[in-house]
Amino acid sequence: MVSTFISTYGGMILGILGGGLAAALCCVGSAKGTGIAGEAGAGLLREKPDMFSKVMILQVIPGTQGLYGFVIWFISVMWMGVLDGSAVGMDVYQGLLYGVACLPIAIGGFFSAIYQGRVAVSSIHLMAKQPDAMGKGVMLCVIVEFYAILSLLASFLMLIGIHNAFA
């Protein structure tokens, strides 16, 4: 009974666990990052309401990690066959490979979103003093973003390799 359950669903469960973590952790990180940036932004807008568009751009920058996590989730469930039902009966080790391949973006995205949010907060404070410093603030945020991109690529390239190995 247990062994049939594991052989039928075990691989798929491990796979969607990894993919789900990628989406969920990245989204939580992005929510935290955009959240603290939004709080700081609202504080600035109380004084200078005309800076809304600038503040909003800085606020959404830590939101991209959520997108990256979601991209990896989508790719992994698509290639595992969760969407068309062919993932049922997937080997356990195969599902484990898919699941583990999702971890770089899950962890990298989660933390980089929070750290990037903190840079965004500081940049918003910077803009309160120097309204023209937005470009600099954005650049500082983008430096952090690169490490989320590397995590995304790490997960994606591993998924590609695994997908090709079983295709």
């Binding site: 751009i57 959404v60 920058i61 939101g63 991209t64 997108l67 990256y68 979601f70 991209v71 989508f74 790719i75 969407l83 470009g135 954005v138 650049m139 945020c141 983008v142 430096i143 973003e145 690169f146 991109i149 590397l150 995304l152 690529l153 994606f156 390239l157 590609i160």
Partner: protein, 644 residues
């Protein structure tokens, strides 16, 4: 497409012509007057020259006054403007016309006064409203409020919290034999309003009892007459204040018809202040004014006919080596490369002996932007958006540049979108599948199916951009006559890369060895000792290797963002087709793609920019130029008609 050549201008003119000369120079709009501190006159000159005021601070104050007047108008009578409403156009002469300035400064002042009065009235109104509120609970009390005692009794209005049970309070008072009485005036959710009547001789004792219940005397006892009379008096006052306030408000609203004139006056004042600012830079003797400044070499000829009308002596000269730091920088570009000045200025202007990066930004920035966004549909939307914005709003200056930048990036996005077979993601095949048809869109690059090719392509593009950067560095060195530096710094690097390429292809590794040797032997050349030279060479070999590795890898973001955008678009299309209903599909399609487009525009923009600023500029850019700010007419609210 270069940095404009500048000439130094020295001029001495008769003082009585100061204003008219400055006005003419302003109309000419190409002379920048330097701050005299930069070229401080020697001690003997310092005694002769003085700076004279030209009323700048008053002009600035008047300008602020006009601005606050406009702001007040916008607050009381918000202006209805469309998204794309163009600024009105006026001639240059009209901006210099000062005849009606006083009138509108007065108007702005009166608006400010009216607003002040309105604010004071509003404070008074809210005070009276507060009073009425405190009196309201006492309306049913028909005793005048100031009546605090009779021959034998004291009367005391007061309050207790509503949690107090009045029956117990009354019972306690009755139990004590001091002949007192509590009248309930009214009660609300929190408070009982009471009138306490007690014999004079028992006052202290009664008070002690009621205090135990939290009785507190009320402030209404300082008023004269009954509560009802007071309230009706206050209401009369209130309505009088309101009429006053309305009259003032309508006075401000009436001024809304001169909103345009106010704005024009503000621009006139700004121009006047700009002229005064320059006038205060002039060094004056008793009868002459002197200044040094800069003029673009191309515009020099325009100066002759203007200056010949004045009693002045002047000369122009090429900037010397020491001047380079002070020469203002103006980038000279054509209509297509001009928009990229925004990006250059956001970083820092190139130094006068640097190089104008706009033509290179024009090549690389839209290309990288296009690769990251890579969607035919998005590209067309961006192009149309920029086109409409420019056409409808008749933009000038930096906003027009933004619109053109949007159009160029839109075209690049559309091209790479077509190459990757992406039109709103995979919308076409998905919709076709909804109706049972199979459509395969051919694509040259596909980050999902063939990611390695796209990744390597991105890195190669990055390498090309970096090599262009080193070439520009070499060009500048050779132009400045530093042949040796060009050969050592750029040549050795190229030799190394050529050698690596030959080695990888299997021809020979010796060229690469030669490159390494050249780097180690030449890069430490500024160090005085032999050990320092070798050490410096080895260290720079290490930093070249690690630096180039990191720089080239940084371009992998091109592929990652392309992938992310494409996948999100695909997700929304899939979600839409899952409903199987064309209306629901369209709804999801529009919302989803707007979201994806918005986020990806920001992402593509900043990441493409970062690649220019950090990786590309790092290879050659000499920054730190001072912007060219000629004496000219500046306006915020109107556009100047070009006339010649």
């Amino acid at each position: 497409m270069a940095i404009e050549k500048m000439k130094r201008l020295k001029l001495v003119a008769v003082k009585s012509e100061r204003e008219s000369l400055l006005k003419e120079l302003m109309l000419l709009g190409c002379v920048q007057i330097s701050e005299p501190e930069l070229h401080s006159p020697d001690a003997e000159e310092a005694e002769i020259f003085t700076k004279e005021t030209a009323g700048l601070s008053e002009f600035r104050a008047d300008y602020e006054r006009l601005l606050s007047g406009i702001e007040l108008l916008n607050k009381y009578v918000p202006e209805k403007t469309g998204l794309f409403s163009p600024k009105p156009e006026v001639s240059r002469q009209s901006v210099l016309d000062e005849s009606s300035l006083k009138e509108y400064i007065e108007l702005a002042k009166s608006l400010d006064d009216a607003d002040d009065k309105i604010k004071r009235l509003a404070v008074e109104e809210s005070r009276i409203k507060g009073l009425i509120e405190t009196l309201e609970p006492w309306v049913s009390l028909e005793v005048p409020l100031e009546l605090s005692e009779t021959k034998t009794c004291v009367l005391m209005p007061g309050v207790v919290p509503s949690t107090v049970d009045l029956k117990t309070l009354k019972a306690e008072l009755a139990a004590d034999e001091s002949e007192s009485q509590i009248f309930e005036v009214s009660s609300d959710r929190d408070i009982h309003y009471l009138l306490l009547v007690a014999m004079k001789e028992n006052q202290a004792k009664v008070l002690e009892i009621v205090r135990r219940f939290g009785f507190a005397p009320s402030s209404v006892s300082n008023m004269k007459g009954t509560a009802k009379e007071n309230i009706s008096d206050l209401k009369k006052k209130l309505s009088a204040l309101e009429t006053d306030r309305k009259a003032l408000t309508s006075q401000i609203e009436a001024a809304a018809s001169s909103r345009y004139e106010l704005k024009l006056s503000a621009d006139r004042m700004l121009t006047k202040a700009g002229q005064a600012e320059n006038a205060e830079r002039l060094l004056c003797t008793e009868s002459t004014i002197n200044f040094e400044g800069w003029i673009p070499a191309r515009e020099e000829k325009k100066l002759y006919p203007v200056l010949s009308r004045f009693n002045c002596a002047w000369e122009t000269s090429e900037p010397t080596e020491e001047d380079i730091e002070y020469v203002p920088v103006k980038l000279q570009n054509n209509a297509v490369t001009q928009p990229f000045s925004i990006l250059t200025e956001m970083y820092s202007l190139p130094a006068y002996n640097g190089i104008d990066p706009n033509p290179f930004l024009f090549t690389f920035f839209p290309m990288f932007f296009g690769i990251m966004l890579a969607d035919l549909g998005y590209g067309l939307l961006l192009f149309l958006g920029g086109f409409m914005y420019k056409k409808k709003a008749k933009l000038k200056g930096s906003q027009a540049n933004v619109a053109v930048l949007l159009m160029i990036c839109g075209i690049a996005t559309a091209i790479f979108g077509a190459l990757s077979g992406s039109f709103f993601g995979d919308a076409i095949p998905q919709v076709a599948k909804m109706y049972g048809a199979e459509i395969e869109i051919p694509s040259l690059i596909n980050p999902l199916a063939d990611p390695m090719t796209v990744l390597i392509g991105a890195l190669i593009l990055g390498f090309i951009q970096l090599i262009v950067g080193t070439a520009l560095n070499g060009y500048m060195l050779i132009r400045d006559g530093q042949w040796m530096d060009a050969v050592f710094d750029v040549g050795s690097l190229w030799l190394l890369f050529l050698g690596l390429a030959l080695g990888v292809m299997g021809a020979t590794w010796y060229v690469a060895y030669a490159g390494v040797a050249m780097i180690v032997l030449t890069q430490g050349r500024s160090s005085p000792t032999i050990g320092g030279k070798i050490g410096g060479g080895l260290f720079s070999l290490y930093s070249i290797a690690s630096g180039w590795f990191g720089d080239v890898l940084s371009y992998c973001r091109l592929m990652a963002l392309m992938l992310a955008g494409a996948v999100i678009a695909q997700v929304f299309n899939t979600l839409g087709t899952m409903t199987g209903n064309i209306v629901a599909f369209l709804l999801l399609f529009i919302v989803g793609h707007l979201l994806n487009l918005g986020l990806n525009i920001i992402g593509s923009f900043v990441h493409s920019l970062r690649l220019q600023y950090l990786e590309f500029f790092g290879k050659f850019y000499r920054e730190g130029g001072k912007p060219y700010q000629p004496l000219t007419i500046k306006t915020n609210y109107v556009n100047i008609i070009k006339e010649d």
